[in-house]
Amino acid sequence: MKKKEKRNLKQYMGRLWHDMKVHRTSYLFIAPYCILFFIFTVLPVLMSIALSFTSFNILEPPKFVGFSNYFRLFFTDSIFTEKAIGNTFVIALIVGPVGYILCLMLAWMLNELPHILRTILTVVFYAPTIAGNVYMIFQYLFNNDSQGYINAMLIRYGIIQKPILWFQDEKYMLGLIIAIALWTSIGTTFLSFIAGLQGIPKQYYEAGAIDGVKNRWQELYYITLPSMKPQLMFGAVMSITGGFGVGSIVTALCGLPSTNYAAHTVMNHLEDYGNVRFEMGYASAIATLLFIIMVASNKIIQRLLSKVGE
């Protein structure tokens, strides 16, 4: 019995090796890209997981400490459990879905416009994404002193008496960050939706009208959305990843750490421990956790979206 299994495995390996030799050109094609992909993407993820079980400060070699980084993260790090996790989920749960729906709505409305207008508006909506860190402009719009546009306007119309410290005041920080993140969220998702909508054959709509689709909302639900399901899936991945990744905007506008950690996200926590305190083992635990959250929420949403229109 055992012998047979062994022979089967041997046969299998032999066949695999043969297959691989036959396809050696394919491997040549993928090699340059894949080598870089493994070095710069896969390897760091694996290292991050490994390092999360160690205590490591770059100077001394990493020391294995088991799950203690994770225990510390969940049970003793109150900034993480009380601020970072909460803020990250609040931002992600608003920026992800609202950004996604905004992209869908915009794409859907644009789809009915004449070509020229559609092109112009596509550029307008996508511009914040391509223009890099234009979000720094908000620093001027929401400047702290009365020279800031928003403060000046509010003072002029008597709504406030003295300037608001927008990016330092705990009351406003999180809201502003969410608004700015939304402003930059009309990205790849939006383009993918526009393309998805344009690719739906018009016969579908004609057939739908004959089958008794009454208005454009029914049309949207019964024809449009199911026909662009693959794009909806792809867009969801991009939006979720974007929502959980908000961090650099916070650092740029509110500083690291933000006042009383009011806008502190897991991304910022990672930055704090990795780039400021050099507690690499601990930072890796944060990174691994964030990685798991991102991938898991993507998988869940994919599962849900696959039911659209069924």
Binding site: V124, W183, I186, I240, M267, N275
Partner: protein, 292 residues
Amino acid sequence: MKKLKFSLSRTERGVKRSYAVDFVMYGLLLVLGIIMVIPFVFAISNALKPLSEFFYFPPRIRVENPTLENFKDLFRLMSDSWVPFSRYIFNTVFITVVGTAGHIILSSMCAYALAKHNFPGKNWIFGLIVTSLMFRGEVTTIPSFMVFSKLHLINSYSSYILPALSSTLGLYLMKQFMEQMVPNEILESARMDGAGEFYVFWKMAMPMVKPAWLTLMMLSVQNLWNLGSTTYIRSEELKTLNYALQQILTGGIARSGTAAAAMVLMMIVPIIIFIFSQSNIVETMSTSGMKD
């Protein structure tokens, strides 16, 4: 070649549309459009403002005496920086051009094999790539730094370029586009005529996916052009344009005109590229869909 028709005029469509809803929708679009544009208008207006107008209270968006003084200031300020300003420009242009060209070639090759060949391990590799779309690169900064220093890439152009070559979004879009837009029959008949696989890829497949490589170009330029300061670079001579311009932003109100000018200069390049490649990008995105 399968070509999508991008002309749906509203009269051809199925159900009737009520004008009231139309009105609300266009109104909404207009409002959202204005919200999106305001920060840009603001940046441009600041860039054209003479210094005296910055001290008006309340501050205005409309510029009374538009001037190019801020742009001149920017260059004056930069010409007496520690490292010549042209060096920052060179760095950014060099990184962007090399990184983008390399990214397009490497990921097209890989995408071609993934889309058109059938070899053991193919689905597994593509699965890894799709998974990597699900998280941000920033998550792995720490181990990446260790990888870079082990490979002696710290403080070199390669530390900007090499990771950008293997950006996964580009590969994903290219693979999807090739799979759906390049017919197997054409490749097969070329192979029958005795063409080598690389010839088939370069002369047959590549010309058919022009929209996709324009898309990859746009995504890659967008990423590389905006690279700022990184922990991988120490010497000033290797820093980027964006880094140099970021330094001006910290200069307070007297510098806000110059800073706005810098911002306008930075964003104009990717926006122009997007405007010109826009329709090709939308065509590429039509195949971006993900199967469950």
